[in-house]
Symmetry: C2
């Protein structure tokens, strides 16, 4: 497996994260880089979902991936096998990325001709939801083994997301997870969120997710391609 | 289901959490209250494990439970069915509990004759590891669906724990989870941690966990019961 670049992110010094995020979003629009912020609990399947996303959209968009973790480079090494541009970000213990840290990551990635930049945020349902990264869209993955009650316990995460992927639906028979109840809880927090059940391992539902993402990027570009 | 008390925790104003934690630990020792801090990712099975723990040890120790969550009271309602004393703590968006917040929780629980107080911390593998709650012992649950690589990505959490419960071993056949590799990763972070595979749903391994906890409480008491 080839080596991957690791960037040690410096903790942000900006008090006004919202302003930093707006500035970054405007710059990325200027450059034509669509930034997707992907969040979830540890082990919900962000990296496997990303591998499937690159498989589905890698020929449509030039993709760059930033893998944020407190330690290790296992995810970036996995992504590097897909052929996509990738960088591992080490957060120095930080539990989330804010806009200034995301900016460091994008500079490290050297976006250049990247059209779709994906930030795999730190596995955490709390803190990442509190910090606007400057992303064009926020996505989160809830996995079946975590339980259908998570939108009740982590309200902010579900309310800031444009799309919720319900992953690991292949193991639905082995867990007490009520898909309809979960949809209802998500809608309580966020009536507008798109909800897509998937299984990143088998590929089920990935078409619907890729269609959604492609449509969002095209609508963001404001073109009718 | 009976109603449970909900306490809104105020954010802590103490800069020196370590000192607060030491003071709380000393007080609890004085009162004979053993405090267990239970941590994990969202949905790893903290509440189900607690139900089993109360089943196994409820006649040996008087148990009180603090359920910390950002929102909802679903866990406290579940625990209330066990007959154990329980209070729901709302953290006001906070991603962890520190010693001062834990103290508020203990006051709300009204420990009185409680011998074993259990704090179910916020579901999060990052921030709770950074704040000493004043607990006598730290326990964490890693569930099989999260993956065996979590000790590589969340080093601090694994290094602060006295015991790691590997939960949901009933679904091992459906996930790529290597138990031996996981043990090895945990030992890299923490050679002294006791590792106990369990299935809170079926009760497998709960005896070993209850034995460990009973022995720790007795050794903490310094008695030879």
């Amino acid at each position: 497996m080839k080596d991957v670049r690791i960037l040690e992110i410096r903790q942000s010094v900006f008090a006004d994260n919202d302003r930093q995020a707006e500035a970054l979003r405007a710059e990325l629009r200027e450059k034509g880089v669509f930034l997707l912020n992907l969040m979830s609990s540890p082990g919900a399947g962000k990296t496997t979902t990303l591998m499937r996303t690159i498989e589905a959209l890698g020929e449509v968009f030039r993709i760059g991936v930033m893998e944020a973790d407190i330690d290790s480079d296992v995810d970036a090494r996995t992504i590097s096998q897909s052929g996509a541009k990738v960088i591992q970000l080490h957060t120095g213990g930080m539990c989330h990325l804010d806009a200034a840290m995301t900016r460091q990551g994008l500079e490290g990635l050297e976006t250049g001709d990247v059209e779709l930049a994906i930030l795999e945020n730190v596995g955490n349902l709390v803190c990442p939801a509190e910090f606007d990264t400057g992303a064009s869209r926020n996505a989160m993955i809830l996995s079946v083994p975590e339980g259908d009650d998570k939108p009740l316990k982590y309200p902010l995460m579900f309310s800031v997301c444009d799309v919720v992927l319900i992953n690991k639906i292949d193991v639905l028979p082995y867990f007490d997870f009520d898909l309809e109840k979960c949809r209802e809880y998500i809608r309580m927090r966020n009536p507008d969120a798109r909800i897509i059940p998937i299984c990143a391992k088998t590929g089920e539902g990935i078409d619907a997710w890729a269609d959604w993402l492609r449509a969002e990027i095209r609508s963001w570009r404001g073109s009718m391609q």
